[in-house]
């Protein structure tokens, strides 16, 4: 039945009124001034002390917080390799359990010999060892965040494949979405974590072996790591315990800061400029060893995005420089506003599974089963969703 939009409308009105009520510009100004005034060494010390009791994620800071670095000129001959993935989740309404992961990659080469290679690779997973992390017990089915993790693995694998096909010259490997595997943090039993991470880090090992600068690109990031670090800086108490926070002026400011995202904070970056490199204090990263993820923010010309990479990449000034230059260059070639790297866009287009595709898969499975003499009615709910009879 049609949604009661008029009821919602009133509530939307209330919401937006509250949002604009806050004086954001003023707060942002103060936040940036605060960042400039920070003593990085002192803050580092403070962060090391306080970590245990912080309910939110903070960033590890280096020698500078408020820096802005212009991009180097992008080499005329260079390539960008990107990958993306898409999945069809296992459907409990079908008699045969399976899931599909489709990965796509795009290699765009610019310069004297421009070329493009676009490809995709679908995979149907139906074996027990793919469907369950513990095929004999079947207590850990691959779905939800585990499916996402599997997809992330597949994407990195595809990215690797793509990198092998680069015609030559400097290149950057790119994927959309974080390299920090948040979803695995809550996995229990631990073996799940082990399995995924093991594979994941194994992939990254290959990258470091070939010295391929691998980055992730996060558009419209919602992270607040760096701003949260400012809140720690601001906090007068020895141990940060927000439950017992006094209502002083700095406390007020702290609450204001809580509403500011990193991308807003780093809005001062000019087009093409990047911020200082920060470290993430996400717990899962403790397992990453040399691949510990660091990040920086960058103004790609229309928005501030978050770029993440293993520290062996961010630590290499050449790789870092190439990444910034090529991402900026991608933005210039984008044709959209705000810009989005064409390489990622094409990889996405290769990977995407449309509704029609999904239907086609269903039909193919149904038909294949029928040929073998296996007909089924499907679940009632599924049918009712499809047919929607009155």
């Amino acid at each position: 039945m049609p949604l009661k939009l008029d009821v919602l409308g009133q509530q939307i009105e209330q919401m937006t009124r509250a949002a604009v009520a806050e004086d954001r510009n003023g707060a942002l100004e103060r936040a940036r001034q605060l960042m400039e005034s920070v003593d990085p060494a002192e803050l580092r010390a403070k962060l090391d002390e306080r970590t245990v009791r912080l309910p939110w994620l903070v960033a590890d800071v280096g020698d500078s917080l408020a820096g802005a670095y212009a991009p180097a000129p992008c080499p005329a001959n260079h390539s960008v390799v990107a990958s993306d993935g898409s999945s069809v989740a296992p459907d409990r309404h079908t008699p045969v359990r399976f899931y599909v992961i489709n990965t796509g990659y795009a290699i765009l080469t610019y310069g004297e010999r421009p070329s493009a290679t676009l490809d995709s690779s679908p995979n149907l997973y139906f074996r027990d060892e793919d469907l369950y992390l513990d095929p004999h017990v079947r207590s850990a089915p691959v779905e939800g965040s585990r499916l996402s993790a599997k997809m992330c693995l597949a994407e990195v694998g595809a990215l690797w494949e793509g990198c092998q096909r680069v015609p030559g010259g400097p290149f950057v490997a790119l994927r959309d979405g974080s390299l920090i595997t948040w979803g695995l943090q809550s996995e229990d039993p631990a073996f799940v974590q082990q399995q995924f991470l093991g594979e994941f880090l194994g992939h990254l090992d290959r990258f470091v072996e070939q010295g391929i600068p691998v980055f992730s690109y996060i558009s419209y990031p919602g992270a607040r790591d760096v701003v949260n670090s400012l809140r720690v800086w601001l906090c007068p108490r020895g141990t940060v315990d927000c439950e017992y926070c006094p209502t002083s002026e700095s406390a007020q400011f702290c609450r204001t800061l809580a509403g500011i995202t990193d991308r807003e904070q780093f809005g001062f970056l000019a087009e093409g400029q990047r911020s200082d490199v920060f470290g993430s204090k996400s717990a899962i990263l403790d397992r990453y060893a040399l691949h510990r993820i660091q990040f920086f923010y960058m103004n790609v010309g229309g928005e501030v995005v978050r770029m993440e990479a293993p520290r062996w990449v961010t630590g290499d000034s050449e790789m870092l420089g190439l990444a910034q230059a090529s991402i900026y260059d991608q933005g210039l070639r984008s044709g959209m506003y705000p810009p989005y790297p064409p390489a990622l866009q094409e990889a996405h287009e290769q990977a995407v599974i449309s509704a029609a595709d999904r239907q086609a898969i269903e039909v193919m499975v149904e038909r294949a089963l029928a040929e073998k003499g296996f007909t089924y009615l499907g679940s009632a709910k599924a049918s009712s969703k499809r047919r929607r009879a009155v």
């Binding site: 421009p114 676009l118 044709g335």
Partner: protein, 206 residues
């Protein structure tokens, strides 16, 4: 020369994808499909389109003050892979057992068969008889039939090496077919010959 592959096929029209992006055959030109060892199907190009392979994607502006036209393709190499050029042909006749029969074919051409350009001799041979003009005028086409016919006549005139006799015959045939519709007739005739001044760009008959 092979220039495309059939991707849609009906009794009246067939749509082909160009082998080369942005290189579709000229509007009004005559093309050939080799149906069998002794049978060719002839079609007249009546429409062309370049667009995204994926119907959901639309082209966006990619040029800048320094990068435009051909440069856009160099600077965005993925375009060659995500765009495709298609052209539509109207079936106008077949050549079989040594004879030309003008009209709709018995069957639509097979999907995925190649589309070839016609040599000047093949074009001259097919266009000797002008019966097929009716097909061009009466089909429901994506472009106005008068423009198509005018373009076609100009092309064939050129392919036939400036054959003034043929041009005259063609104009008279058009006059005959469109005698009841003066406006359409003028649209075709002026489309063929816009005037004697070279500036007008008309075909110059000797």
């Amino acid at each position: 020369m092979r220039i495309g592959e059939i991707i849609e096929s009906t009794s009246v029209l067939f749509v082909s994808e160009s082998l080369e992006l942005r290189q579709s055959p000229a509007l009004g030109s005559l093309l050939r499909v080799r149906i069998s060892d002794d049978g060719d199907l002839y079609g007249v190009v009546c429409y062309g389109e370049t667009r995204s392979l994926d119907p959901g994607r639309r082209a966006v502006r990619r040029s800048t003050s320094e990068v435009y036209d051909d440069q856009v393709y160099r600077e965005n190499p993925q375009l060659e892979h995500i765009l495709r050029t298609e052209f539509t042909c109207l079936a106008v006749g077949v050549l079989e057992a040594g004879g030309i029969l003008q009209g709709l074919p018995a069957q639509p051409p097979p999907l995925h068969f190649s589309v070839h350009t016609c040599s000047p001799e093949e074009t001259a041979r097919f266009t000797e008889d002008l019966y097929y003009f009716r097909l061009l005028l009466s089909a429901s086409l994506p472009v106005p039939a008068e423009q198509l016919l005018a373009n076609h006549v100009r092309r064939v005139y050129g392919e036939r090496g400036g054959d003034d006799n043929w041009l005259r015959r063609a104009a008279q045939e058009v006059g005959h077919l469109l005698k009841q519709d003066y406006d359409r007739l003028m649209a075709v005739l002026y489309g063929i010959d816009q005037g004697s001044s070279p500036r007008a760009g008309g075909v110059s008959t000797k």
